[in-house]
Amino acid sequence: MIAALICVISVAAFLQFFVSYCRSILASSKNIALSDRVREVTGIANQEVGADDFNRLLQLLRLCPERGDDQSEIRAVGTYYSLLAVLHRVSRPVAPRFAVWLEQERQSCSYFAAVALDRRISYSRDLFTQQISDRL
């Protein structure tokens, strides 16, 4: 009986801590505006970053040279996005309001990936500029 109670409370606490932790990582990118360059590259020039854009943005991220300091946060957000995607698929027919919230969360994940891509593109350009100046 006590073990069952501890189990239920721990799982509920785990979900709350995990969601809050992922949102604390996502919050760091929410106030950063996307540059025109990344909008052009991703084809999201005039519209908002969509919830389903995450995987495409992740593929573009992998094409850029790694900065070395953003891998762990991208992985954590990737795990969170996968969890949200599964929940979204399950909840859409039975709990539409919850599905709307999940959609917003997935959109935040995509925006985070777009900001990370923006940083990596800037980093690549800096590297390129540095190489050119070294040759000269």
């Binding site: 069952a4 189990c7 721990s10 969601v19 919050a27």
Partner: protein, 226 residues
């Protein structure tokens, strides 16, 4: 592999805090990770000399884990002090923490003493489950205080949330092991080592990437019912 990852992340946190001269500010974390690194070396020694299935390894694992948990309560106390720093109640928090640690120690000793003739795996799993659950409760209360007091330091928020994930996953896995012993061999035995890696990695990330002066509105992290 999991041990090596955890060990390296622990060393990274300690080296980072020393190199940034923050060792005195976060001394409970440094002390905890130094002790944890020594315990990891001890576990490796036990596996090499006595085997993974030996009683020596089991006793060493579960009892050092309990001691490390008591040290982790000191880390939580430090977070409480940081959260309530402006209210000037540091002395009360210290007194409450010492009382809690002494009570946990006395309670654990009494339970172990009473069961000394049959210190079975079931018993140590139950003890670990209870100790981790105390950690869950303490961290949850701290998280509640952070929300109530509108604490905005991103670093403190992320450290506490990572700790909450660590304690709740471990408490949940030990409780499930108690309820369904059959699940242990396949799934649940991997959760404590994974969480042993998670905590130092998450804290290493927080110390390295989140600036001391970074701010975050904690209410934005909560999921609200619509």
């Amino acid at each position: 592999m999991v041990w090596i990852l955890g060990f390296l992340a622990e060393v990274a946190v300690v080296v980072y805090l020393i190199s940034r001269r923050q060792i005195f500010r976060y001394y409970p974390i440094v002390f905890y990770f130094v002790c944890d690194a020594f315990v990891t070396c001890g576990l490796y020694y036990c596996v090499r000399h006595f085997g993974f299935q030996s009683a020596t390894y089991s006793y060493f694992y579960y009892y050092t884990d309990s001691v490390l948990n008591v040290l982790m309560f000191c880390v939580i106390t430090k977070f409480y002090q940081e959260t309530f720093a402006e209210m000037g109640v540091g002395r009360h928090i210290r007194a409450a923490a010492v009382t809690l640690i002494v009570l946990t120690g006395v309670f654990s000793y009494a339970v172990v003493h009473q069961n000394r003739t049959h210190l079975t795996t079931h018993f140590v799993v139950e003890l670990s489950q209870n100790v981790y659950f105390v950690g869950v409760v303490l961290t949850y209360l701290l998280w509640g205080a952070i929300l109530k007091l509108h604490e905005t330091r991103t670093r403190l928020i992320q450290l506490v949330l990572a700790l909450g994930i660590y304690f709740s996953a471990d408490a949940g896995s030990y409780a499930l092991r108690n309820l369904f012993p059959g699940l242990e061999a396949n799934v649940l035995r991997w959760i404590p080592p994974m969480m042993g890696v998670w905590l130092p990695v998450a804290w290493a990330y927080t110390f390295a990437h989140v600036q001391e002066d970074a701010r975050l509105e904690p209410a934005r992290l909560m999921v609200r019912a619509r």
